[in-house]
Symmetry: C2
């Protein structure tokens, strides 16, 4: 299999798996199960993967990790909105 | 920064962020928040990333995704143990 096609399929699968948690948090307005520290560690790690993707010039790595950063920043925003109340 | 060092740091951060969920599930013996379908999608995606890493011969991608596969297979085992009861 072409390596880029493989990477894009891999990226789509790992990206899809993140969506339900975001939907659940938005629907339930409940962030009790989310750890702020872990969310920040994860966003830092994913951002470094995007950087790594740019250095290696690998589009599947850039796209899937950039998407993951967006999902987790959305979770972070939800955390800050719902944790107050 | 050396790209391998960058990839290894990125892999360590994203790996660390997965551990608390596994600990929580083992401690609480509660898998109600885990979706079996999403877990299978995630394990498939991560396995394809390991394959991608082998094709590209990139150790940081192989190691971090292989670790993620292990963590999520452990979650799958927990799911099957605790879902019955």
């Amino acid at each position: 299999m072409n390596e880029n096609v493989l990477g894009i399929i891999a990226g789509i699968l790992t990206s899809i798996s993140m969506i339900p948690q975001l939907i659940k948090v938005i629907k339930d307005k409940n962030v009790d199960d989310i750890s702020l520290v872990m969310l920040l560690v994860l966003i830092s790690g994913l951002s470094l993967w995007v950087w790594y993707g740019f250095i290696k010039d690998e589009l599947p790595i850039i796209l899937s990790n950039a998407f993951a950063v967006l999902v987790n920043i959305s979770l972070l925003v939800c955390y800050m909105i719902y944790k107050k109340s």
